[in-house]
């Protein structure tokens, strides 16, 4: 064969291969569609390294963690605590919590879920050598032990009625002890739980494939046989995936793409509030923002409606509380003083502000920077000078939260499903978001309300405590909630079971197809 003919054959061969490849690419989406319910999700979930619930670190991991592990207790759509892997829980005395476990449950590897497994999980979290990310939640726990095969006792050092809440999150996600022993450090890559889905494949930086757990205890779930979650680094490529029609669901569609979703024949747009919020907080120990009148001036100067309109394209929600309107703990009569520049100037004249430039650290996300620039402009309008410095998370942590640099921060708070956890983190004495660390600004009134809310047995009593706390926070302007995120979800019209839970994470086992 001459060189020329060889070259030609090579070219022909290549072309044929490409054509075949293109065909197989376009038909791939239909493969196996006959019986299997396969749901594809575009998620913006960068940097996930670990699906060990006790060792991971990002809130973005939860969507998969809920599916693979299940929790001992859960929150329902209205924020009420309901049974999960624990069928019942009971305080036998103010320091002793007894969990009664569901019977007949098995982990994905076939090993039984029982009191020994739960005790193993709790001790794993409490073991200092394990360095569990949630060990802090167990600081007040004196002992855990199995009462019998299906009952576990948790003894606290002091009464803490809100403790049950921690069992709805990472601390309540049960890993298979046998798999932990077998896999060691690899467990985070090949997690084994007792949840509705088995993690079949995870290629970090690409996708997660979940398949139905045929032995799942809750009848009728999961609704889908297979869920593929494409984990994009940013919103842009995720939106493009949505537009090619190759995915069924995306949460957090950017405002500029919302008109496309609304006009689409295939997708429904869901705009419901979540607990994730853009908030302006202060270093309350630093002058001049330690002056309440300056903070009142700042709040009166900011037109939150304008931020919602200009930055969020009206895809977001305003609330006077750190939790969204409609959330069970937020009093329906609660109001925040309105935007009023004249009032702001009045407060300013009563304050000790003397023309200093306030330094605000902000998260470098595009929308947060734009919102911060608007805030800067509003403050300038009433005569408050402010400069904004965008810094990524680790740097903010080092400089604002730990060293106490900057007067304030504009950034996201992802929210927690229980009110106590939110308030404590942000303004509780020693809370993780209270600056400067380790204790932050300690307001005794805040401590009293928190105590009252946490120790109340009835929900109405808790509501009362948090209503009082919210009024105190508004009066003292301890922080300013700016805009609550919307679900901003694009949901394929043939998809069933999607509920926009206020905690802002989809529950994959509920997703099905018509």
């Amino acid at each position: 064969m001459t060189r020329r003919r060889m070259g030609r054959r090579l070219v022909h061969g290549l072309l044929a291969a490409l054509a075949a490849a293109a065909l197989s690419g376009s038909t791939e989406a239909d493969a196996g569609a006959a019986t299997e319910v396969h749901i594809r999700i575009a998620a913006v979930e960068p940097n996930i390294q670990n699906y060990d619930p006790h060792k991971g670190f990002s809130g973005l991991e939860h969507r998969v963690l809920y599916a693979v592990f299940d929790q001992l207790v859960r929150f329902d759509a209205r924020g009420t605590m309901v049974p999960g892997l624990a069928e019942r829980w009971e305080w036998t005395d103010p320091r002793t919590l007894v969990l009664t476990l569901r019977r007949g449950v098995r982990f994905h590897d076939g090993t039984p879920f029982d009191a020994d497994a739960v005790v193993f999980n709790f001790r794993r979290i409490m073991d200092p050598r394990q360095n569990s990310i949630v060990r802090g939640e167990w600081r007040d726990v004196e002992a855990v032990e199995a009462v019998d095969e299906f009952r576990v006792k948790i003894v606290l050092r002091q009464p803490q009625p809100a403790f049950i809440v921690v069992l709805s999150d990472r601390s309540g996600m049960m890993v298979s002890p046998a798999a932990v022993a077998r896999l060691g450090d690899e467990f985070g890559r090949r997690p084994v739980g007792a949840g509705p889905f088995i993690l079949r494949q995870w290629i970090p930086g690409s996708h997660v494939t979940l398949v139905r757990n045929p032995a799942y205890w809750e009848t009728g779930y999961p609704k889908a046989d297979r869920i593929t979650i494409y984990q994009f680094r940013a919103e842009e490529p995720a939106v493009r995936a949505l537009k090619t029609g190759a995915v069924d669901f995306m949460q957090g569609v950017p405002a500029k793409d919302v008109p496309w979703v609304r006009a689409s024949r295939d997708f429904t747009f869901v705009d419901a509030p979540t607990i994730s919020v853009l908030v302006m907080s202060f270093n309350l120990t630093k002058t001049p923002v330690d002056d309440v009148n300056l903070r009142r001036a700042i709040r009166a100067a900011i037109d939150r409606r304008a931020i919602l309109r200009v930055v969020y394209g009206n895809i977001g929600h305003l609330s006077p509380s750190i939790l969204p309107r409609g959330f069970w703990s937020v009093s329906p009569t609660l109001v925040s003083p309105p935007y009023d520049p004249a009032r702001a100037r009045q407060y300013l004249s009563q304050s000790k502000y003397a023309g200093e430039t306030l330094s605000l650290v902000v998260s470098p996300d595009d929308y947060i920077v734009r919102a911060s620039q608007l805030v800067q402009q509003f403050l300038g309008d009433v005569g408050i000078k402010a400069e904004i410095t965008p810094l990524p998370g680790p740097e903010q942590l080092a400089r604002f939260f730990t060293r106490g640099e900057f007067h304030g921060r504009i950034g996201a708070w992802s929210g927690r499903p229980d009110p106590h956890v939110n308030y404590f983190a942000i303004i509780g004495c020693g809370g993780s978001f209270n600056v400067p660390r380790p204790r932050g600004y300690c307001d005794p009134r805040v401590g009293e309300y928190l105590e009252q809310g946490a120790s109340a047995a009835e929900r109405s009593q808790r509501q009362q405590a948090y209503a009082g706390l919210d009024r105190h926070i508004i009066d003292q302007v301890l922080y300013i909630p700016l805009v609550h995120d919307s679900w901003a979800a694009a949901v394929r019209k043939t998809l069933t079971g999607f509920q926009p839970y206020v905690f802002g994470k989809p529950i994959y086992k509920e997703l099905g197809r018509q």
């Binding site: 291969a17 670190f57 060990r135 890559r189 090619t244 190759a246 978001f433």
Partner: protein
């Protein structure tokens, strides 16, 4: 040749040492460490847990001690473990490297397969209509940023025509060569375009120059057919700068891969590098830099070796 290669390989050691030390210092200079990245992502963890994590990760030790520890382990062939994922760095890189290799090697092959014949055609007829159109296109191709071209391709072939998938990677072993190629076509084109333009320009200008040389006139004078003159005498000389450009482009390709992998959701080393830096996972960053620098040095070395094959006058002693 062997001694030459030996000398070159030994010479890479100080380069790698310097590169890894610089990266180590740069990552350490970034404010915040992996624990503050964890704290930022979790919106705060227990202070006590944070401190014991720092001890566990060895972050309580002085910078130079940490680098020397990393180096000592490296000497024993141990790249360490990811601080966040807990897996061995080598394993993580072995998982991700094939994707980047497939992406960059495919782009190189594509750029040569298209660039050489097109450049040849243009160079043989300089200033023809074809040559002028090509020059204009080349200017656009070189100026177009990778991510923009990628987005444009996705819009056309995935969103409008539905011909090709725009995201997701399919390993050839698991899904077959067809599915793999379908998922790689758009990334390959995106990464290959600026390289192709470079090759076209090199071949075109080289060809125009060489065809005016005396040995070409001699070849023609002794009655060789034009095809033989071009392929056997002219092209060989033209290919040397092309090889140089290709060898030197290894660094560009790797940095281009970071963007292309992000746009097309490919689980390669580029996205791993971004993750590593953002989360301050320094063993991962160090591992990638080591592999990336070695690959770049190796590519340059291969280019040097290729000279000797293309041009018999070049000898390495």
């Amino acid at each position: 040749m062997t001694t030459y290669l030996g000398r070159r390989l030994v010479a890479t050691l100080p380069v790698l040492l310097l590169v890894t030390l610089t990266t180590f210092l740069l990552v350490s200079l970034l404010p915040g460490d992996v624990v503050s990245a964890i704290q930022a992502a979790t919106e705060g963890i227990d202070v006590e847990v944070a401190e014991s994590l720092r001890v566990q990760f060895g972050l309580d030790r002085p910078l130079l001690v940490r680098y020397l520890q990393w180096l000592t382990r490296l000497a024993a062939g141990d790249l360490g473990r990811s601080l966040l994922g807990h897996q061995p760095v080598l394993g993580v890189i072995v998982d991700r490297f094939p994707v980047t290799l497939l992406l960059t090697a495919g782009a190189v092959v594509l750029s040569l397969a298209i660039g050489i014949p097109v450049g040849l055609a243009a160079g043989l007829r300089p200033n023809s209509a074809f040559d002028r159109v090509l020059s204009a296109l080349a200017a656009v191709g070189v100026a177009a940023p990778g991510f923009w071209l990628g987005i444009l391709l996705v819009f056309l072939f995935a969103q409008r025509l539905h011909w090709l998938p725009s995201f997701g990677y399919r390993g050839p072993v698991e899904f077959g060569l067809g599915a793999m190629a379908a998922h790689m076509i758009l990334p390959w084109i995106t990464l290959a375009t600026p390289r192709t333009v470079e090759v076209v320009r090199q071949v075109r200008s080289g060809m125009a120059e060489v065809m005016a040389q005396e040995y070409v006139r001699t070849a023609r004078a002794k009655g060789l057919p034009e095809r033989a003159v071009v392929s056997r005498h002219a092209l060989r000389n033209v290919l040397i700068p092309v090889v140089t450009v290709t060898g030197l482009s290894a660094g560009h390709l790797l940095s281009g891969a970071v963007i292309v992998e992000t746009v097309f959701l490919l689980p390669g080393m580029g996205t791993l590098a971004v993750e590593g830096v953002l989360t301050r996972d320094f063993p991962i960053v160090q591992g990638i830099v080591l592999v990336g620098a070695s690959a770049t040095i190796l590519a340059n070395l291969l280019a040097d070796v290729a000279y000797g094959i293309l041009d018999p006058r070049i000898r390495y002693d």
